[in-house]
């Protein structure tokens, strides 16, 4: 199992348990197949009930997470195992991708377009589902449609991303270009 460090060690504003987060992180990392010697740091900002997340570093792997991302939507301030697994599943799969030479030409996270970001996320979520991690397919389909269009072309692109297991960054980028063409065609019918 990867070496995992969760900060803070003790939470004072929310009812989170750092040891539980570390345990869940280890389980998710093992399912994803991250190397055992990888160091994983999970930094939780317990002040924030919002759900923003960020891969702050790849060496060592550091994930910055606002507390709301790990929170139970039905029980404010309480940890949700499902939320932790869901959020970490897609984040750690992106880490795994980033460590893969097939993704070396992917832009930095802050330079990803909304279309690229959600396409990559859908690719991760589909893999999460097959790994037995919690996910919400219809939720991500809605995200995808919001960014790639409410169209048959977008839905077909979603299915390809969701069902794929070995894409490269170029594959994802090509899918984004395909839906962009469909949106352009819809906006300017007949113009090529």
């Amino acid at each position: 199992m990867a070496k995992i460090v969760v900060s803070p060690e003790r939470f004072s504003l929310v009812f989170f348990d750092a040891e539980r987060i570390a345990e869940l992180t280890g389980q998710v990392a093992d399912k994803i197949g991250l190397p055992d010697d990888l160091e994983l740091r999970i930094e939780v900002d317990e002040r924030m009930p919002l759900g923003r997340t960020k891969i702050s570093s790849l060496d060592p792997v550091t994930l910055s997470v606002e507390g709301g991302a790990f929170e139970d939507a039905k029980r404010p301030r309480h940890l949700s195992d499902r939320s932790v697994q869901d959020v970490l599943g897609r984040m750690l799969l992106r880490v795994k991708d980033r460590l893969d030479p097939n993704f070396e030409n992917a832009p930095a996270d802050e330079n990803l377009s909304l279309q690229q970001l959600v396409a990559w996320t859908v690719y991760s979520e589909g893999r999460c589902e097959r790994l037995g991690l919690p996910t919400q397919k219809q939720r991500w389909l809605y995200h995808f449609r919001n960014r790639h269009g409410f169209s048959d072309v977008a839905d077909a692109a979603f299915d390809r991303l969701w069902n794929a297991d070995a894409l490269t960054w170029s594959d994802i980028d090509l899918i984004c270009a395909e839906t962009q063409r469909a949106r352009d065609e819809l906006a300017n019918p007949g113009v090529r």
Partner: protein
């Protein structure tokens, strides 16, 4: 059947979990976020501020905007449930008559028609929730909308439900319709537009009945309007609904005018929202 049902006696199955305003206000993270407002968020995207949820707005260009819309859609669903319960209660809780604790039959007929609308809105909201990837009960339910429908005076209850609650519905539906338009979501825009039309009718019914029932009783009308101000401030939820540039839910002036609100009355709602926002900011900033 029991009359004048308290909010905590509403029937819900085990999918639903309640969250009160007190829970929200007593959340210690609010004070802790004060420091973040000046130091910026963890992803360097800028300060989240003491009223972070209020400041992010409904900007479709934000990565989390679809999730915000999902959560609001669930809020609309439970709001429709509570509006149905509120209108239904007004039909049942008061005898028919002309006394101050009675209501005319025609008012009950209007409330019955509103129940029909709200039941349809519940079904539409469930379908929209499924479309957006949300399960019933995925988010906690706040029952403060129904609390406005518990006043024992039928005129005050009427303004609580048909002017304050349904007025909020106008603002929310208009915001969601605009979000659907900006995202190109054909179902969301269409459904919100049709429900918005119903809400305008419901508020118009409230406005008309308020004037008719208090035509010869200006003191009662004043009490009703004062009650509405209190409820409207509550429904502004610390500025979540208002006219500020970053208010996630914008006051829909045009539709409120169509629903019988005068410009002055809308100005009052806007002012209540500003004061609610200021109070929330002060509360979060602490002593």
């Amino acid at each position: 059947m029991r009359r004048h049902l308290p909010a905590d006696a509403l029937a819900r199955d085990d999918r639903f979990v309640r969250w009160t305003l007190e829970d929200r206000i007593s959340d210690p993270r609010a004070a802790a976020r004060r420091a973040v407002s000046s130091s910026g968020g963890p992803d360097g995207s800028g300060g989240s501020g003491p009223t972070a949820k209020n400041r992010v707005g409904f900007n479709p260009s934000r990565p989390g905007a679809p999730d915000q819309a999902r959560a609001l859609m669930h809020g609309i669903f439970v709001g429709e449930l509570q509006a149905l319960e509120g209108a239904g209660r007004t039909c049942f809780d008061f005898d028919t008559g002309s006394g101050t604790d009675e209501v005319p039959l025609e008012l009950k007929l209007d409330m019955a028609r509103q129940c029909w609308d709200e039941a349809r809105h519940c079904e539409i909201s469930v379908k929209l929730g499924e479309w957006m990837g949300t399960e019933i009960g995925e988010f906690a339910e706040n029952i403060f909308l129904f609390e406005a429908a518990c006043n024992p005076d039928p005129v005050l209850r009427l303004v609580g439900v048909n002017r304050a609650l349904e007025g909020l519905a106008i603002d929310v539906f208009n915001t969601m319709k605009e979000f659907g338009d900006s995202a190109g979501d054909p179902f969301l825009s269409f459904c919100e537009d049709w429900m918005l039309a119903d809400e305008v009718t419901h508020v118009k019914m409230g406005s008309d009945w308020l004037r008719r029932l208090t035509e010869k009783d200006p003191a009662r009308r004043d009490r009703a309007l004062e009650f509405q101000r209190v409820v409207d401030r509550l429904f502004s939820t610390g500025g979540f609904r208002g006219e500020e540039k970053d208010s996630p839910i914008k006051l829909a002036r045009k539709f409120r005018e169509m629903a019988g609100f005068s410009t002055e009355e809308i100005d009052v709602v806007a002012e209540e929202a500003r004061q609610a926002r200021a109070e929330m900011t002060d509360k979060v900033a602490g002593p």
